[in-house]
């Protein structure tokens, strides 16, 4: 580029070459108007690994059911304990490191999990450009289309889609503004907002631009389950986003994902709760959005555009972090690794604790499957399992909310410990969350920890004044 172009570009950002409509799915067409973004978008095929993230390109010999020549590395091979952890569930057959957006459709299609269990059409929401297909299936009604596709089999649904996530899934074709297109998120975030007292929340109407820079990602990078026989794709947020609220939600519905093959426990699988965990961290609290780190601004000539090569920020530290943190790249990498190593070590401890309990229940059950102690211990396994998996399945290895990630693991180890106590016949509460509350919530200075803000204010009023910062007569 020459200096002339630099000054030109500054004035004239985009050229409208083609007209985009609300049915233009193909990103190549959008790319005519926005070639820079399109070029970067296509780079998500790159496979580069970091200590815990990115992905490693593994040669794969094509088979009848899986024609891929390259896959990401198997996480089961790397840590075989995961096979036991998910025994009896499709995940114990195949679970890989996730890779760039370009692969989402083929990876979903060809995972061995498809062979292990027939998967529902609900799966497709997060692995393809579904905006136009949903509209079509619902005759112009997005939610109706969503519900209809949820009921289908995966293979039926698969026929309706062509592209991985595409421009239209995040952008309004007229204004290019961000928008949420996933009914799962619209409904989920509405329920969550309702739990905080915000009525009738409409994400595309009520969210700020900065919030949208997180919400477009939160459309898919979230915990979910298929509700009921209709396989309604549901985000379990009506009690809140913290692991405890989500677990309480599952406890209240009695939902289980499968029955554990070793212990017989009614267990849950946590899946990529990036949005949920991130929301407990200091970056979310400081108003930083997913796009700030995963799609940072980059200078293209005189323009600043969002880097549509969505990837690990560790492969792009300068732009992703140094705008805000004026320290060296190496130092930033080490800060992340310090957090991740600590999380990883504690995750490993938690998995061992969980599996010890799982096997102990397995043994007790073989001895006497009607023993009520076994049923109680299974409840603790269920909790330990969900808490451990919440961090294991989250993809930042703790970075998105470092203290919270390790707190969750500490609680997981404690559930495992209590499960063993239950097996030994000791008196433990019937529900793990009650045990947690009984241990954790000792009040201090008149203010029980872990209270919601409003409840805390209430207590404060009762004890008189603000016990947070209260003066007492000095000794002078």
């Amino acid at each position: 580029t020459t200096i002339f172009e630099h000054r030109q570009e500054a004035r004239n950002p985009f050229y409208r070459v083609v007209a985009l409509t609300d049915t233009t799915t193909d990103p190549a067409v959008w790319g005519k108007n926005f070639p820079l973004q399109y070029d970067d978008y296509r780079k998500t095929v790159d496979m580069v690994y970091t200590r815990y993230g990115g992905s490693e390109a593994m040669p794969h010999t094509p088979t009848a059911t899986d024609p891929r020549q390259l896959t990401a590395e198997s996480r089961l091979a790397e840590d075989p304990r995961l096979v036991d952890m998910w025994k009896g569930y499709a995940f114990s057959k195949d679970f890989r490191e996730e890779r760039g957006h370009a692969y989402m459709l083929e990876d979903q299609m060809f995972t061995e999990r498809q062979q292990a269990t027939p998967q529902p059409g609900a799966c497709i929401q997060c692995h393809a450009s579904v905006y136009v297909p949903y509209q079509r299936a619902g005759n112009g009604d997005l939610i109706a289309g969503f519900t209809k596709v949820n009921h289908m089999t995966y293979l039926e649904a698969r026929k309706l889609v062509t592209h991985p996530v595409a421009c239209i899934d995040c952008h309004d074709p007229q204004t290019m503004q961000l928008r949420v297109t996933r009914p799962g998120f619209m409904i989920g975030i509405k329920a969550y907002q309702a739990s905080r007292g915000v009525k009738d929340y409409d994400v595309n109407r009520d969210a700020t631009r900065q919030e949208m820079r997180t919400y477009v990602c939160g459309q898919c990078h979230v915990e979910y389950y298929f509700k009921g026989a209709e396989k309604q794709l549901t985000y379990p947020w009506s009690k809140g986003l913290r692991v405890d609220s989500i677990y309480a939600y599952y406890d209240s519905t009695g939902h289980k994902d499968w029955t554990h093959a070793i212990s017989g426990a009614p267990v849950l699988k946590a899946q990529h709760p990036e949005f949920e965990l991130f929301n407990q961290g200091i970056h979310a609290r400081s108003g930083v959005a997913c796009a700030d780190c995963h799609m940072p601004y980059k200078r293209e000539g005189a323009l600043k555009i969002s880097d549509h090569h969505v990837r690990s920020p560790l492969l792009n530290i300068q732009r992703a972090c140094q705008t805000c943190h004026k320290v060296s790249e190496e130092e930033l990498k080490q800060r992340v690794y310090t957090i991740q190593d600590r999380t990883y070590e504690t995750r490993n401890v938690a998995i061992d604790a969980l599996l010890a309990l799982t096997h102990d229940i397995g043994k007790a059950r073989q001895a006497d499957s009607t023993d009520p102690k076994v049923a109680l211990a299974q409840q603790y396994q269920r909790a330990a399992q969900f808490y451990t998996d919440f961090v294991e399945a989250e993809n930042s290895m703790g970075f998105h909310a470092d203290q919270e990630a390790v707190r969750i693991l500490a609680d997981a180890v404690n559930f495992a410990r209590l499960g063993e106590a239950a097996l030994r016949g000791e008196a433990v509460p019937r529900r793990p969350l009650e045990a947690l509350a009984a241990s954790a919530h000792l009040p201090r200075r008149g203010v029980p920890a872990g209270l919601s803000d409003s409840a805390r204010r209430e207590t404060r009023r009762k004890v008189g004044g603000d016990p947070a910062v209260g003066a007492a007569p000095g000794g002078r």
């Binding site: 580029t1 500054a10 732009r319 140094q322």
Partner: protein, 176 residues
Amino acid sequence: MQGTRIAIVVVVLIGLAFGIGAYTFIYAKGASYLTTDPAACANCHVMQEHFDAWQKSSHRNVATCSDCHMPHDLVGKYTEKATNGFLHSLAFTTGRFPDPIQIRPVNRAVTEAQCRHCHATITEAIEWGTVGADRHEAGPAAHRAAGARPQVHDGIIEGDRLSCIRCHTYVGHWVR
């Protein structure tokens, strides 16, 4: 060897300055560096963000870009301006510079000195015993022997002096 290389670099630099360099300098408004008008800095769109942020900063009415980024003595000032003016013009023209832009250690040290220049009085209490005396003279404690390990952090000798910017990052412009 080293000498030859430097000589070549010098020749090339001179050539650039008088050839394409002159074009660059003029076109990219490198001469803006010779003024103290903040708007002149913003002549380069890559400085725009800093300019905008400066306009919202506590120093907007009291310190211009050059007050913080140029040494206050005249020779130093114009040497600095010429060097930065040329290097930045060149960078702007080639498009080869870090994104986001990062202050170089040498320029950071200039800024640190500028804070002290304006705020000599108020910082006396925290700078005394260190003013004019870095560790090679007196050391953090008088009884510290020579041979102590001087440590350099981002261009500041972290011996006796505290870095102002470490705490007051926001004063000029905050782009975060």
